[in-house]
């Protein structure tokens, strides 16, 4: 992997991890489409990937640092008391814990198997098209939903805030996040759609999605830190650090943009993009195979 390839992959990771367009799908497809001969399953690539994950997670922690500080303090107080209170930060913290458990369990036991089965460019392009349908259908279904009690009909962006999210809803969103184990399905897309179907507005659905993603991405990175210490990993350490910083910067800018975008925007443009890019990839890869 050259320096230029590494930097481009870092930018790609930072953007696609948070935009609802599937980071795994793009990191599988784009190198293949532009003819980069990268073995992303090799032990030498893993430390680089770890650094990108840590960079992305750091960006999320930085952007939501006030939320995380309040949540962690509230959770510590809650555990020390041994009782739940009406503190909204405490409630949000426990919702994130509930939402993280299904992803952690399913990801832990299924990720390597699913990657072995589906981390091929053709499969990724098909799942990317499916990702588009998930977001398109999610938006349409939300608009057809009956309004929540006391709320106007789910139209442009009426709906509920995170204070209305239940434990069951948090678990459902966590299960939706697990769909991103399939290369081509977006973590943020599936979790935002799940939030919308639970009658959340776009902005709180996106906020919960990004908060929920943070411990998962952070854990995925931290658990693989020992790979830096292997003989294969050490030569890439410098490049990994630069890549991680670049992924972090692009991820920070991405989440900043998306949190503003979802105040009024919807998932439809991302659905159209996923259809277009997925279809184009499928055509190019199919023709190249012949």
């Amino acid at each position: 992997m050259s320096v230029v390839q590494a930097l481009w992959l870092a930018v790609l990771q930072g953007v696609s991890e948070l935009f609802p367009i599937s980071s795994i799908g793009h990191t599988v497809l784009i190198p293949r489409l532009i003819g980069w001969d990268l073995d992303q399953q090799s032990p030498t690539f893993l430390p680089f990937l770890v650094a990108l994950h840590l960079g992305t997670a750091s960006a999320l922690l930085c952007f939501f640092w006030r939320d995380w500080l309040a949540i962690v303090v509230a959770l510590i107080r809650s555990v020390a008391r041994g009782k739940l209170s009406t503190d909204p930060d405490e409630r949000l913290g426990w919702l994130l814990v509930f939402g993280t458990i299904p992803t952690a369990l399913l990801g832990f036991f299924l990720e390597s198997r699913l990657k072995a089965l589906f981390a091929a460019p053709l499969a990724a392009s098909v799942f990317l098209i499916c990702n588009g349908f998930i977001m398109f259908a999610g938006e349409r279904l939300r608009r057809r939903q009956p309004a929540a009690a006391g709320q106007p009909r789910a139209g442009r962006d009426e709906g509920l805030g995170l204070e209305s999210l239940t434990w069951r809803g948090a678990v459902l969103i966590g299960l939706a996040q697990s769909a991103a184990l399939l290369p081509g399905i977006s973590r943020s897309g599936s979790t935002i759609v799940a939030g919308l179907l639970l009658k959340l507005r776009h902005e709180p659905a996106a906020r919960f999605s990004f908060l929920l993603a943070t411990p998962v991405i952070l854990a995925a990175g931290l658990l693989e830190v020992p790979s830096f210490l292997t003989p294969e990993g050490r030569p890439l350490l410098g490049l990994a650090i630069v890549g991680g910083l670049l992924a972090g910067v692009t991820a920070f800018l991405s989440v900043k943009f998306l949190m503003r975008y979802f105040q009024i925007g919807r998932l439809d443009p991302f659905a159209y993009y996923c259809w277009a890019f997925g279809a184009l990839s499928l055509i190019v890869l199919t023709v190249a195979r012949r």
Partner: protein, 65 residues
């Protein structure tokens, strides 16, 4: 049987599972490679679940008072 019994029991089981995955030479289920090697990540996962179960037990014990 108090409400805290089930989460406490789960915590014990998860701790045992965490220790199990640190024992070399034993065939570990639910791993993708080298079933008889030490699996630190699995141990960490089950240790985390044990901690959550203990927290649940604490809440359950307070709820019965």
């Amino acid at each position: 049987m108090t409400r805290a019994f089930v989460p406490a029991l789960l915590a014990v089981l998860f701790v045992l599972a965490a220790v199990f995955y640190l024992i070399p030479g034993v065939t570990h289920p639910l791993v993708s490679d080298s079933p008889t090697a030490i699996h630190v990540k699995h141990a960490i996962l089950f240790a985390g679940l044990a901690v959550l179960s203990l927290v649940w037990a604490r809440f359950a014990a307070n709820a019965t008072r």
